[in-house]
Symmetry: C2
Subunit: 308 residues, 2 copies
């Protein structure tokens, strides 16, 4: 039986999960990963958020960058560049093994969930990681009259486009991956990791059955704010919240999640916002949410899992 | 109009073609490459012989090994090994760019000939290189009651299996690639490069239309013996000739090609065999066939093209 479900985006989630995996048994945990920012490149299926979590839990992540594999080289992608191809999405040579195996498994008929499970096993990751859906959901950024693929916005354009709207193409009709709804229904707690609420968690919350399942478990759902003192440590969460009409603050995060969560964990730096959050009906826990060392992740995980 | 057609296998052919390309215009030349030893690995389509020729003509080949790209690294394949996959076929990180682009082009509906042309263009190779066929032909080695895929025999087992027979699966029904028959029919000369007669040239000679076209042009066809003083410089040509009932000598090579060639170029070391070859009806040219420097390749090309 799944005791804890974690909804995860990329780097922030992965750091948190590294701590969570130290305090909960892998049998009791299901990590649901965002696949809205998956992409097909050079014929390969790439799942950046699933990979960041997998590499982090496997202990092979490049900790400086937060993604990719440590000590990786880039000879493959540089060769493509020399051959005249666009190479703004940097794929490392070791990282490539993952994409090639995933692509092969999918081409042989495996679902993305099955491919993810097989890859996790190869990487020695014991925690169960599943994509939110086996179907194709693609996050698109609507900017000044143009629609931009997520990775193009995120990596190629370095999040410089103004975000007018975010579209999760395919999410409205996507079926959750096997086991996702059961876990959300049975779990003692659901943790929304410190990820970009709109871009990383938004795709999951847009899949109708996942959305409904979490709404029903609102009392057991907690989110960790990725916004600290009005800013994100990494990525454009603050910018995107503002663009979409939310404050770039713990208040904005809580409002975005208002249908889904009962409790929010905010950083000590945002203590002053506690009364307002409580007035809005949230239970508030103050914690140290900046995760520099593994101990920070473990401590935050204890707070989120309610055992601290 | 194609003036010269060259039938090419791997390393030996590539070295020879490097010289040939110096003395003939790329517009006048068609190189027909063996695809019997192509393989699918990790979902990738790999064409080792086409790549050896392309890399050599592009000047990027690893000259020490004769295949692959110079200064390449092997982090991708080592990662696969660490993940528990079989990795006896070593793919370099830079080399991988070729296989990924080829696989993508094929998956989008390109023929192997079209994919090869696009890759050659990217690599700046001006000579026209075409696979013998766009269809799937796979060389299989029949050993003691087991059938072994060519690369498994060649790379994994290091040619240690006894060869009872060689099967070119699919060759009997394969259509030559576009332009192949026209070129063979019109060319002023057809050169069989110094490649393994049975394993590298055999697949082409087994495709009925190519076989018939060359037989008709026997008078204009010359082969360069890959056997020098009873041995090959590289690969198992001598062993395989013996296994298949031919002498491992220039006589064996000439006999294998007897239906197809009028003239054979043999190394100075084999001068003593000239009278016997002439008695068998071959025109014989003695030359230096060991190609260490580019000048050696150019000189041999001049002999083969009849301009020396």
């Amino acid at each position: 039986v799944t005791v804890t479900v974690a909804l995860a985006g990329g780097v922030g989630a992965a750091k948190f999960l590294r701590g969570l995996c130290k305090i909960v048994s892998s049998h009791d945990l299901l990590i649901i990963g965002n696949t809205g920012d998956d992409l097909e490149l050079y014929g390969l299926h790439i799942s950046p958020d699933l990979d960041i979590v997998m590499y982090t839990l496997a202990g092979v992540v490049d900790e400086t960058k937060g993604w990719g594999i440590k000590d990786d080289t880039f000879h493959f992608i540089d060769s493509l560049r020399n051959l005249g191809f666009e190479t703004w999405f940097r794929i490392g040579d070791r990282d490539l093994a993952t994409h090639i195996i995933r692509t092969k498994l999918l081409s042989e008929g495996a679902t993305l969930a099955e491919a993810t499970a097989k890859l996790c096993k190869r990487f020695g990751v014991e925690a169960k990681l599943t994509p939110m859906t086996n179907e194709k959901v693609r996050t698109k950024i609507l900017s000044d009259n143009i629609i931009i693929d997520f990775q193009e916005y995120f990596v190629k354009n370095k999040t410089e486009n103004e975000v007018k709207d975010v579209i999760f193409q395919g999410a409205e009709n996507a079926e959750p991956a096997p086991g996702v709804i059961e876990a959300l229904t049975q779990a003692e707690r659901i943790i929304i990791c410190p990820s970009n609420p709109i871009l990383s968690i938004g795709p999951m919350l847009t899949i109708p059955k996942i959305r409904e399942a979490i709404i029903k478990r609102k009392a057991e759902t907690v989110a960790i704010s990725p916004i600290i003192a009005g800013k994100t440590l990494k990525g454009p969460a603050d910018k995107v919240l503002r663009s979409m009409g939310y404050e770039a603050s713990v208040i904005g995060v809580a409002r975005y999640y208002r249908e889904f969560i009962n409790r929010i964990i905010i950083d000590r730096a945002d203590s002053a916002q506690k009364p307002e959050l409580e007035k809005l009906g949230f239970e508030v826990t103050i914690a140290d949410t900046v995760m520099k060392r593994i101990e920070d992740s473990v401590n935050l995980a204890k707070v989120a899992a309610g055992s601290s």
